[in-house]
């Protein structure tokens, strides 16, 4: 009688097997279609796991090596959503390149294999209880996604890939030092295999050395923060996200950054428990969050490249999530809600940017004008998602940002709230300026209008509709799931 726990290893094994099978694809289209459909199937399995966790509590498997609680189940659901969307978008995006012969069978095989590999690695990060295995997964995502950046070899892409590879590998190596320090901090009570298990470390009877835990947390935040794109360690992010093809950028911004932030969130309750719940760890997150928002705001104003603009938006929104978690209380709930909103919205915006980039032949926003007329479907999708990203009501991002502001005022963190508002204001003005010029400025040369299939409209507008819906009404199961996830982080509403 199989328990529900078998789903957890399956979530890792299935994409890994599919990665190997992708190397045998017959044609590029077949590779992409199989990819999209298989991702959907795996997503359904994951959905069952998430529902199981939601209703019956955490899942365990293989003697505690695999573990899924509300926090990781929530992130898993977001991951599946993003991957399903990106999987189907890849079919649309590469259609023209396949027609031109640029996206050859060899490239398609490599692309799909690396895609599934990254998928498997991200699943590994989310479902593992052992912090060491979690680290292995994060490093694996770096390595496997590096070549996704330069699928189409160009000087800029290679430069972006090298920066990404080196900075993220170094950062993640530092994070490993942090994990070792965490294990060492528990050496008084735990030993060997147990010292790396999250469930054991969270056990209240385990004594943790506070000094070591603090040093460990600093290493972890610096290390995983590099991978998550928190300022000032974010300099690889704009390059990597702008040089890769649109589906890859969407996946990067949509969930890869959140994977790294998830690792920090995993370790946060341990740190909080060890330092007497005084919020030492959360203060660091608040500082980094504010710094990310402000740095991103400055760069957003001065951008010309639409994908770099979206990449800096990612830095900003990851900063908002970090700020929310750092504030505690309502902020944690809002930050988790924001994770969902940002992932969906960012993926959509990269879809639009990618398709329009193909149409105009450039990503320069000064030349990508009058998008609504050139492509009603993708143009409006891009403008809509840009508006959502800067927090226009009634999209869900407005709600989550508003709740974080409320949390800041609740916690009497007035300086944080003021800086937060300043950053948001600068982003609003800057990005709105870009969006307006893209939407309505008359073009210098009118490119041919983009023909779109009806199904593509579904892909372009469904996420925006979802965000609109969530902005107006959050379904009760979702609300309960987020509350459960926040509870893992030590927050009782």
């Amino acid at each position: 009688m199989l328990t529900a726990g078998w789903m957890l290893p399956a979530l890792v094994a299935a994409p890994a097997v599919l990665a190997g099978l992708s190397l045998l694809a017959r044609t590029p289209r077949a590779a992409l279609w199989v990819g999209a459909v298989a991702t959907t199937v795996i997503a359904l399995v994951a959905g069952c796991a998430v529902a199981q966790v939601f209703m019956h509590g955490p899942l365990e498997c293989v003697g505690g090596w695999f573990f899924l609680d509300a926090l990781s189940a929530y992130h898993l659901a977001i991951l599946m959503l993003v991957f399903v969307f990106c999987g189907f978008f890849a079919i649309v995006y590469f259609r023209e390149e396949i027609a031109n012969g640029v996206f050859t069978r060899k490239l398609a095989r490599r692309y799909q294999a690396l895609w599934f590999g990254s998928f498997a690695a991200m699943n590994l990060v989310l479902v593992s209880n052992n912090l060491g295995v979690m680290w292995v997964g994060v490093e694996a995502t770096t390595l496997l996604s590096a070549f996704l950046i330069c699928i189409h070899v160009s000087p800029a892409a290679l430069e972006a890939m090298w920066k990404y590879l080196l900075m993220c590998s170094v950062g993640v190596a530092l994070a490993f030092a942090g994990i070792l320090l965490l294990a060492a901090a528990s050496s008084a009570s735990l030993s060997g295999h147990d010292a790396l298990l999250w469930t054991r470390l969270m056990n209240p009877s385990v004594t943790l050395n506070p000094v070591l835990v603090k040093v460990a947390f600093i290493f972890l935040v610096v290390g995983f923060g590099t991978k998550a794109g928190l300022a000032p360690l974010h300099s690889w992010l704009p390059d990597a996200h702008s040089q890769s093809p649109a589906p890859v950028s969407a996946m990067f911004s949509g969930f890869l950054l959140n994977t790294a932030l998830y690792c920090i969130l995993r370790c946060l309750p341990i740190v909080e428990a060890a330092t007497g719940n005084r919020g030492w760890g959360r203060e660091i997150l608040v500082v980094l969050g504010i710094l990310s928002i402000l740095v991103a705001a400055v760069f957003i104003v001065a951008q010309h490249d639409v994908k770099r603009l979206l990449a800096y938006h990612s830095v900003e929104h990851l900063g908002i999530i970090a700020l929310g978690v750092g504030l505690g209380g309502l902020g944690v709930w809002a930050a988790l809600f924001h994770t969902l909103n940002h992932s969906v919205c960012k993926a959509t915006s990269f879809f639009g940017a990618g398709m329009l980039g193909q149409t105009y032949g450039t990503h320069d926003m000064r030349r990508m004008t009058d998008v609504a007329r050139v492509s009603p479907v993708w143009g409006t999708s891009l403008i809509g998602s840009l508006l959502a990203l800067i927090g226009i009501a009634p999209f869900a991002l407005f709600i989550s940002e508003f709740l974080i502001l409320k949390a800041a005022l609740n916690e009497k963190a007035y300086l944080a709230a003021a800086l937060f508002l300043t950053g948001l204001g600068i982003v609003f003005i800057g990005a709105l300026g870009h969006a307006i010029s893209m939407a309505w400025k008359p073009p210098a040369t009118a490119p041919r209008p983009l023909r779109t299939h009806h199904a593509e409209a579904l892909l372009a507008w469904t996420p925006l509709a979802l965000l609109l819906l969530l902005g107006l009404w959050i379904p009760a199961p979702l609300r309960a799931l987020i509350t459960q996830a926040a509870a893992v982080l030590g927050v009782t509403p």
């Binding site: 052992n130 060491g132 295995v133 680290w135 292995v136 490093e139 694996a140 770096t142 390595l143 590096a146 070549f147 330069c150 070899v153 160009s154 000087p155 800029a156 290679l158 430069e159 972006a160 890939m161 090298w162 920066k163 590879l165 080196l166 590998s169 170094v170 190596a173 530092l174 490993f176 030092a177 070792l180 320090l181 294990a183 060492a184 050496s187 030993s191 060997g192 295999h193 010292a195 790396l196 050395n209 000094v211 070591l212 040093v215 704009p238 390059d239 702008s242 040089q243 760069f299 001065a302 951008q303 770099r308």
Partner: protein, 212 residues
């Protein structure tokens, strides 16, 4: 047995100093190989040899002593360089910074509660020193191969740290970490090859297309 551990730890520091002062890339790769072998030997001379420990030490020695130098030499051979281009920080200054890093690590270790489980008292400072020195190498050197070597020095430092502090990392995690490092070096080697093919150099200081 602690004397042998001390000797290996001191040799790790000496190889790091050697790397900081060396400008010829081929010799840098060889020194890195020596350091990798020394790291692998740490597990064996620490006493209490089991099959698991011996197997992992052997894997580390083979990987770091043979495979990685081979991968890096191949990447180096394809490119046209044999010398480090003028680095950001000169060699004499690098050595002095290495000494400062060492002093800082010993000071930091004296401030932290005692971590080592009966292993040598040198483990934690040496590990920190290797970590920071590796980071410094990545930042201060321009050639891509030297940056990969800096990354490997960092990994050696982290492994030394793990060896001294958490004696029983599960075998699966250790193997996973090893595999990750192997794939990282492999990927970096391929990246260097690609960069050289496109740019005709492996000087990462000249990769300045993307700004802002």
């Amino acid at each position: 047995m602690s004397a042998w551990t001390d000797i290996i730890l001191v040799s790790l520091i000496l190889t790091t100093f050697w790397l900081l002062g060396s400008s010829r890339l081929a010799s840098c790769i060889r020194i890195c190989a020596i350091q990798g072998v020394a790291t692998g030997l740490l597990g064996v001379v620490g006493g209490g040899i089991t099959i698991r420990v011996a197997a992992i030490s052997l894997a580390i020695i083979v990987l770091k002593g043979l495979t990685f130098p081979w991968l890096l030499s191949r990447a180096l051979r394809e490119s046209n360089t044999s010398h480090e281009v003028q680095p950001f920080v000169g060699y004499v200054a690098s050595l002095l910074i290495g000494v400062l890093v060492l002093a800082f690590s010993f000071w930091a270790d004296s401030r932290l509660p005692s971590l080592a489980h009966g292993a040598s008292r040198l483990v934690v400072p040496v590990a920190f020193a290797l970590l920071i020195a590796g980071l410094f190498l990545i930042v201060a050197r321009k050639t891509a191969v030297n940056q990969v070597i800096g990354y490997l020095v960092m990994e050696n430092g982290i492994y030394t740290f793990g060896f001294g502090v958490v004696r029983e990392i599960p075998a699966l995690v250790e193997l996973g970490v090893l595999m990750d490092v192997f794939v990282a070096v492999f990927v970096m080697g391929i990246a260097i090859y690609r960069i050289n093919r496109t740019f005709d150099h492996i000087d990462s200081d000249q990769l300045t297309l993307l700004k802002g």
